[in-house]
Symmetry: C2
């Protein structure tokens, strides 16, 4: 191996292009995080002249992934072609046989050939990393492989397909039919023109098969999954579910039972108050139930070029660390001697919304005076609420709550000083910051 870790990327679709763009944009950060220089040196794709918005001229070009896989130019083969048989599968085998580490995002291939490929990688002392294959940017493979050593897992379940979750969320929030929501998803690029594989649960089943093996140490067994998709879900179901305190989610579930492991993919009623019920749109989530931890839940971006590329880059990081004669990663992610000085942003510069609860004397002019002080300090109010009588409230007083739009803390402090000065307050004002969430 040369001094820099040399990467070959097979497949220049959305994910492959994103990985190349990110390496170009973030080369300094990646070198620091990887602990050694990492370079993309070679690529392969079917069509060299296709427009990709990335410059591939500096890379060695291979017309076939198999040629790239066995090339002496690379240390790591990154398979982003897709497909459960054919080129992708042959190329991964060839790369491992040639002594190259492999990174892949290919769930279908792993569900079918994962055990065989793992045997090959392990017999060669190579890494076969596949964080991107399940739940995109959510690092569930690493957590299952490395963080839960002491735990016995009893159940693992998740929202593993963004297309289905988007459709179900739309049906619920917009009151549209399954067919209309599917059309919207297709228009937005969240669903394929032939959406069967997603909506009938097959994609979820492939991912579940990998999670089951990691969670329970069993041979990958996608053919033993009961699969039911969401095309059968009607608005009537969604409405009744809502009335009864449930939301409908397409879950992949694997449970340890007395008789064996149960694997199923089907529309599932989850209580509206549960965390997983709040996972909306194309977001994915995986929950892991163990004897030591109760439930550990991870949610985040399950698909898309950037999220998938992020997982691929993390997989390469693990290989880079081992490449460096297996040096340990730094304690705080950045080497301690390279930690930057902390530059404090003072809280008075915090800009966000504010909840301001005021006990005021119940007399004329109080509202007007509050409004004036807010306006003087350029604070826009989102709402003003007069609280219904509270038991503890003193005679002749009332409670007013102001919710502001985004504003600077200093402005709020100034306005409150003026309001206090005006003499309308019964007691100290209560201020609670509102955090922005997307």
């Amino acid at each position: 191996m040369s001094e820099a870790l040399r990467i070959g990327i097979a497949g220049l679709g959305t994910v492959g292009s994103a990985v190349i763009r990110l390496f170009d944009e973030k080369v300094e950060m990646l070198t620091r995080q990887y602990g050694c220089p990492v370079q993309i040196v070679a690529v392969s794709a079917r069509n060299r002249s296709r427009e990709r918005n990335i410059n591939v001229n500096s890379f060695i070009w291979y017309d076939s992934p198999e040629e790239l896989a066995v090339s002496a130019d690379i240390d790591v083969f990154v398979e982003l072609i897709g497909g459960e048989t054919g080129s992708a599968c042959r190329a991964i085998k060839l790369a491992l046989e040639a002594g190259h580490h492999v990174v892949t995002a290919n769930k279908a291939l792993l569900a079918r050939h994962g055990v065989e490929l793992a045997q090959l990688a392990e017999s060669k002392g190579l890494l076969l990393n596949f964080e991107a294959a399940v739940a995109g940017g959510i690092p569930v493979i690493k957590v299952l492989r490395e963080s839960l050593s002491g735990s016995s897992i009893s159940r693992i379940y998740g929202i593993l397909n963004g297309t289905c979750n988007y459709i179900l969320t739309q049906m619920e929030e917009e009151g549209l039919s399954f067919e209309e929501c599917l059309k919207n998803a297709q228009a937005l690029g969240y669903a394929e023109s032939d959406p069967t594989f997603d909506i009938e649960g097959n994609d979820t089943a492939h991912k579940l098969a990998l999670l089951t093996s990691l969670a329970f140490g069993t041979i990958i067994s996608p053919e033993n999954i009961y699969v039911e998709g969401i095309s059968n879900i009607s608005l009537a179901d969604i409405r009744m579910a809502d009335e009864l305190g449930y939301r409908i989610k397409l879950l992949g579930v694997a449970v340890k039972t007395d008789t064996g492991i149960e694997q199923r993919v089907h529309p599932t009623m989850v209580p509206t108050s549960s965390v997983i019920a709040q996972v909306k749109g194309v977001t994915n989530a995986v929950a892991i139930e163990t004897d030591l931890l109760g439930e550990l839940l991870l949610s985040g971006a399950g698909a898309g070029g950037n999220a998938t590329a992020s997982a691929v880059i993390g997989d390469i990081a693990d290989i880079a660390k081992s490449h460096l004669c297996f040096q340990h990663g730094p304690v705080f992610g950045t080497p301690a001697n390279a930690l930057k000085p902390y530059i404090k942003a003072a809280v008075r510069f915090h800009a966000g919304g504010y909840f301001i609860r005021l006990g005021v004397y119940d007399r004329t002019g109080v509202f007007a005076s509050l409004a004036k002080r807010m306006a003087e300090n350029d604070i826009l109010l989102k709402s003003i609420v007069q609280q219904p009588v509270v038991e503890t409230q003193a005679q002749g007083t009332k409670t007013i709550v102001l919710i502001t739009h985004q504003t600077a803390e200093a402005a709020v402090r100034r306005a409150l000083a003026a309001i206090t000065q005006d003499g309308n307050l019964v007691d100290k004002a209560q201020i609670i910051r509102i955090e922005r969430f997307s």
Copy 2:
């Protein structure tokens, strides 16, 4: 180093005892997962004769952690004493200087001395692991260190203190005052007899300081955190927040701004519909916002002997893998040749609740006939709902929804076959499984 990885544990409180008990109970699983034999060989604690429900006779006993730290009997020093100065700090330094890897759960110590200790560890090529120091069993340190190499983090925030979240949840759900909820938390062991450190936000601040350094690559800076606790939150705030669509959570927040990094700990309004608003009781959660992933959220057990011990055991696993001349961990967590055959539990054995939606003819006796078929198959009904008229419903028909208690799938299938036979159904019954959640 000897062939087995030899562990020394300083501090035999709740967490230390849990680690020892788990090593005893799960020795086979741990050896398989660690890839090499790992043995606890030595311990230290102040009082040898204290009742701990674990047998410490087989371990070499040290009266002081400093003696254990420098002992040639160990490869890894696990510090579970606590305290930000004194013995714990001296012992960790001594252990690193003696060439031992270190695992610690001590957030206060790391917030104050983390950079110095990281420099020492890195200069010696040793690991200093501290997954248990932040958010207990949630593997956020590993995710920040290893999974997000390609991402630039813009904000990290979380519910990092179970005591505070328990109190705020109780206030909201039970309508009790802060003081009453604090007393309940103390009675349940969720709060210390002197709860100041938790409820005034200091514990959250220590954890936030570590997350900030990991997320932004800056020197740990706990003295630059704006800290406001929850003792000031009244029921009136909780009620008004609810009315306006918010919940109040004690968040630790670190944000990258134009002027530097903003670190703050304070009660925060979060929208009721957000995922973090559903994180209840003693559960912790951390959200990480990045350019590539949007928001990645992790939630789970933040404290308690088992959850903390789980994190310590995961940290030891990382050291064990490096001890083995840095062999790679297996692809699917378990070596591919040791994956067990998959034993399928048939879905007909799945036992859970069911949502059954039936279109029936609107005539006498239908309800009775449904109830009879359910009873015949020993299916207990949790609720029976007649749906309000739906636009699409045909004349002379109505929709009935049955929610069952836990029952076997086979019983539901038999009951539905009988109901279909009875001739009351307008169309095919809709069955959606209800997943149990704690």
